[in-house]
Amino acid sequence: MSDEKLDLPQGTLDLLILKAVSLGPMHGWAISERIRDVSRATLQIPQGSLYPALHRLERRGWITAEWGASDNNRRAKYYQLTRSGRSQLQAEADAWRSLTAAVSLVLDMG
């Protein structure tokens, strides 16, 4: 467990999950691994919130779940982005970019 681990700001977890799933069907463990790897272990998703979040997104209809066989032939639940999930991802990503851009502008002033 590295010390550079950051707490996720409110609402970003959904964005990260949507993004991860947008790359292809993925099970819960793979999603958390993928996010950790890509963020160079800076972003670590608390296991306690991953599954509630996945189920919440499924309920909203942004992702769908399907049972399939994993690499080592075990039964695993694969999540996949839906069409409305894709537009949601687009919207949230845009909002995030403009927010961070705005925040940097403010931080860089003076």
């Binding site: 099970h27 819960g28 463990w29 793979a30 608390p46 296991q47 306690g48 919130s49 599954y51 509630p52 189920h55 919440r56 499924e58 309920r59 909203r60 209809g61 049972w67 994993s70 080592n72 075990r74 039964r75 695993a76 639940k77 839906t82 069409r83 409305s84 537009s87």
Partner: protein, 904 residues
């Protein structure tokens, strides 16, 4: 799919799984989390840890599995679906715990909903739905013809075959035209012969429908060609099943239909009834075959090129791009051309300028057109009445629920105090009443299915096709009615319960302080009695109408008279033999002991009318006076049917073919043709001015020929032997009720008939009764529903007053202790019940009074404001109120002050 819809669907799918597949969802979650931990462990193992250590670390890293599962489950939340299921279970448990209450509510709602479901089915069939299998119903019409006669517009849907040909020939806006008619015929021979409705249609008729024959084929234009047509028949599916057991090898077999021996060429599609004006036909025959049969029996086959025999309706289909207005203009134009054509061959036809013939493309179903009988309008009224009955039923149930809500005040207050939200409580109580509504709906459908058969037979001619359970439209209506009933009964009590003040309800005992007059309940009671008054006034009006129409003098007697029709069945008799046959029948009838008198005559009121072109020397405006009808009658005719001779004499046996030519005219005709003069001794001529004079020898009373509401004033009589003696049928007057002797007479007369020919004997009552049907239906239905309403209102009043007395036991005890006598107490309670009744009478009476303008046209010589009826209804309601409050009043008077006060 729009996003929001997608969201909603996904939500619903997810919720359904969460509620109904709880176990599966739990297992899935377990599997999912276990898989995660195993993956994590595998990763750790890859770094060199022993497997049990990897497992342990993975588990620690993951955190509390149960907590995560809880959090995940929370995402599901408690869904509305789960709440609904929970509320339904709770409501069902509550209803099961009170079987008497539940049963009475379901019965009450079931009666109310059942009445409405049954009436909807009838109104739908009479007024809304298109005939089964009809293609493009919006473009298909029946032609209605209007012309001026007797100075006013007369509209009729029936016309001549020649006119049908004219419409086909002279119009440009139509896709197709067809002949539509029906008649009763004896089907089969010997013992099997049975009178059944037969559809008489042109070959083009079949093209109006999308219905493939179940067997064989329909007839073609070459089998329906002028003049003779071909003796072929298409059976209805039901008749095929009933008579032949659905046997496929009936094609090519023969079936005697009336006078024609027809070859069976096909069976119509199942459920196909054409456009059934007079019952579902057993079979269909070509129009030309029928026209040929009837006109050849009359001696001249001219049905297709003359205009004196109207028997058919014209069915048309507009071209797709033609407006209704354009079609109507086209039809009127064609009718004028046809009128001119008629005038060209029959010079005494009224000129076009005077008759102003007009034609419109109207509704296919006769009962929806301008000539509809009052039955259709009456059905709407009865449907309205059924709605009122349902409202009364709902008011009763609402009252019961209110009373129950009072008993449940503490339970409800407790639940509120424990933190149940008022909205939640409201939803829960409403669920209960919706459940009651649904159960009532099921009971209603059952009631409509079994009890409604009686209603349907009153209103509908094609009963065979009716039914509730298999009819989707009616079932949808039943569902809607149940929902509305549930809401109506539930909303007010649920709102009131939710509004209850907490503290006092919790504090007090069940008895103390709970008696309070509920304004809502009072209002419901008053409404109930007002609506009962409304319905009972309607019942009174219709019963009086029925009585009046039954006892009205028609210009002939009904009950003692039999009409005997000769059916020769293709037997071709020379004119003099046919005339002799009728004479022999009269003689045979006279020898039957039960028969008082018998005579010959041709036409029957309400069934057929005859008219002849005739001339009165010195009167040239005869046609402008109106349409004259004629009866060819033998001696004794007037005695036999009971038409009174007012002046001069009736016909005698001396008025033979070779005797002096004579006539009898009606009083109305005498007044119209020879105003201010003595009609006796005047001269009328038939057909041509060169014809000899027929001298008027008598004046008879006016008769009701075609309508119960209007006299046919212009009627005259010629001696049977002097005009068409070969067309005579027989009228018989029996001692006492004629229908009792019909079979005796039929057997006796049948012996006279040669070969396969036969007589049908019809009591006059059976001919007149259908004309009085609307008043009979009105009286029956209003009485039944009115009584139902009164019963419901009385039960409602009883339950409220009894409840009030139970709640006021203490107060009454105090009154008695202070010296009030039993009569004072009874007066107190009875007065309460009577007050409701009086207010109800005033309101209901006012409502009935203001509705009288609309109900007036449906009545028969009774004022819709008849004071006797209003008075009787008021008394009935007062009596019901007295009865309903008498039991609680007696109970109140028996209150023992000791017991009542000690219980405090």
């Amino acid at each position: 799919m729009p996003n929001w819809l997608n969201d909603v669907l996904s939500e619903i799918r997810y919720r359904f799984r969460a509620v109904f597949r709880k176990r599966a969802v739990e297992n899935d979650l377990d599997d999912e989390l276990r898989f995660h931990i195993e993956q994590e462990a595998k990763k750790l193992e890859a770094t060199g840890l022993p497997s049990h250590e990897a497992n342990r670390q993975a588990r620690i890293a993951f955190g509390g599995v149960e907590r995560i599962k809880d959090d995940t489950r929370d995402v599901n939340g408690v869904s509305w679906l789960e709440i609904l299921v929970q509320d339904l279970r709770y409501a069902a448990r509550g209803l099961r715990a009170r079987p008497a209450f539940t049963a009475s509510v379901i019965l009450t709602l079931g009666l109310g909903i059942g009445a409405n479901v049954a009436m909807f089915g009838i109104v739908d069939r009479l007024l809304i739905r298109a005939p089964a299998h009809l293609r493009d119903p919006s473009r298909v019409h029946r032609i209605y013809l209007t012309s001026v006669s007797d100075g006013r517009d007369v509209t009729d849907a029936f016309t001549e075959y020649a006119r049908y040909l004219d419409f086909a020939r002279f119009t440009k806006t139509l896709d197709a035209t067809a002949v539509l008619a029906s008649n009763q015929f004896a089907v089969g021979v010997g013992e099997d012969a049975k009178e059944m409705p037969i559809g008489i249609v042109s070959a083009s008729f079949w093209s109006f429908f999308d219905a493939k024959p179940a067997l064989g084929r329909y007839f073609t234009a070459s089998e329906d060609s002028i003049p003779t047509g071909s003796p072929v028949a298409v059976l209805s599916y039901a008749f095929w099943q009933a008579r032949y057991g659905g046997s496929p090898d009936i094609l090519g077999k023969s079936l005697q239909i009336g006078p024609a021996l027809c070859t069976i060429i096909g069976v119509a599609a199942g459920g196909f009834a054409g456009i059934p004006d007079d019952g579902v036909p057993a079979a269909f025959i070509p129009a030309t075959l029928y026209g040929y049969g009837v006109s050849s029996a009359r001696g001249s086959i001219d049905y297709y090129n003359t205009y004196h025999w109207g028997w058919l309706s014209v069915l048309v289909r507009r071209k797709p791009d033609v407006s209704l207005e354009a079609t109507n203009a086209d039809l009127t134009n064609a009718y004028r051309l046809s009128w001119e054509a008629e005038r060209a061959i029959s010079s005494n036809t009224t000129p076009v300028e005077v008759a102003r013939p007009r034609a419109v493309a109207g509704p296919v179903v006769f009962e929806r057109g301008p000539n509809a009988t009052p039955v259709a309008r009456l059905a709407l009224w009865i449907a309205g009445v059924a709605t009122i009955v349902l409202l009364i039923a709902c008011a009763n149930v609402a009252n019961l629920l209110l009373a129950r809500a009072l008993f449940r005040r503490r339970e409800i207050a407790l639940r509120l105090a424990l933190g149940a939200s008022r909205r939640r409580l409201f939803a829960q109580l409403l669920t209960e009443s919706l459940l009651l509504g649904t159960l009532g709906g099921v009971a209603g459908v059952a009631a409509a299915q079994w009890g409604g058969a009686i209603l349907r037979s009153l209103f509908l001619t094609d009963v065979a096709t009716a039914g509730v359970v298999r009819d989707v439209r009616t079932l949808v209506f039943a569902g809607a009615a149940a929902l509305v009933a549930g809401l109506l009964t539930g909303v007010v009590p649920s709102l009131q319960a939710g509004r209850a003040a907490l503290a006092p309800a919790l504090k007090t005992g069940a008895r103390e302080g709970t008696y309070q007059r509920s304004r809502t309940r009072t209002l419901l009671l008053v409404l109930q009695s007002a609506m009962s008054v409304l319905l009972l006034v309607g019942a009174g009006l219709f019963v009086r109408s029925l009585h009046n129409v039954r006892s009205m003098r028609l210009g002939y007697d009904v009950d003692p008279v039999l009409y005997v029709e000769l059916n020769l069945r293709g037997l071709r008799l020379p004119i003099d033999q046919r005339a002799e046959l009728a004479r022999r029948l009269v003689d045979a009838a006279r020898s039957i002991p039960e028969v008082q008198s018998a005579a010959r005559g041709i036409s029957v009121p309400f069934w057929s009318t005859e008219s002849l072109g005739f001339i009165v020397p010195g009167v040239d405006s005869l046609r402008r006076i109106g349409r004259f009808t004629v009866q060819m009658a033998s001696a004794d005719y007037f005695t036999a049917v009971g038409t009174r001779i007012l002046k001069g004499r009736a016909f005698t046996d001396a008025d033979r073919a070779d005797g002096p030519l004579v006539a009898v005219v009606s009083q109305g005709m005498a007044d119209a043709v020879w105003p201010g003069k003595n009609a006796i001794g005047q001269c009328i001529k038939i057909d041509r001015p060169a014809d000899p004079c027929r001298m008027v020898v008598g004046v008879a009373e006016n008769i009701h020929q075609n309508s119960l509401t209007e006299n046919q004033k212009l009627q005259y009589y010629l001696p049977s032997d002097q005009m068409r003696p070969n067309e005579a049928n027989v009228f018989i007057r029996t001692r006492g009720d004629a229908s009792a002797h019909a079979e005796t007479v039929r057997r006796a007369l049948q012996k006279v008939m040669p070969g396969a020919s036969y007589v049908s004997v019809m009591p006059m009552r059976e001919i007149i009764d259908p004309r009085q049907r609307s008043w009979q239906i009105g009286a029956t239905m209003f009485l039944v529903f009115g009584a139902l309403a009164l019963l419901l209102a009385a039960i409602g009043l009883y339950s409220v007053i009894a409840y009030g007395v139970a709640q006021r036991t203490q107060e009454i005890g105090v009154r008695i202790a202070l010296g009030a006598g039993a009569t004072d107490v009874m007066r107190l309670v009875l007065g309460q019940g009577l007050r409701f009744a009086v207010v109800g009478i005033v309101i209901g009476g006012a409502a009935a009074w203001s509705a009288s303008r609309w109900v007036g046209p449906l009545l028969f010589s009774v004022s819709p404001k008849d004071p006797v009826i209003y008075g009787t209804v008021a008394l009935a309601l007062l009596a019901a109120a007295l009865l309903a409050s008498a039991i609680p009043a007696v109970r109140a008077a028996r209150v023992d002050p000791n017991v009542a006060l000690r219980s405090e």
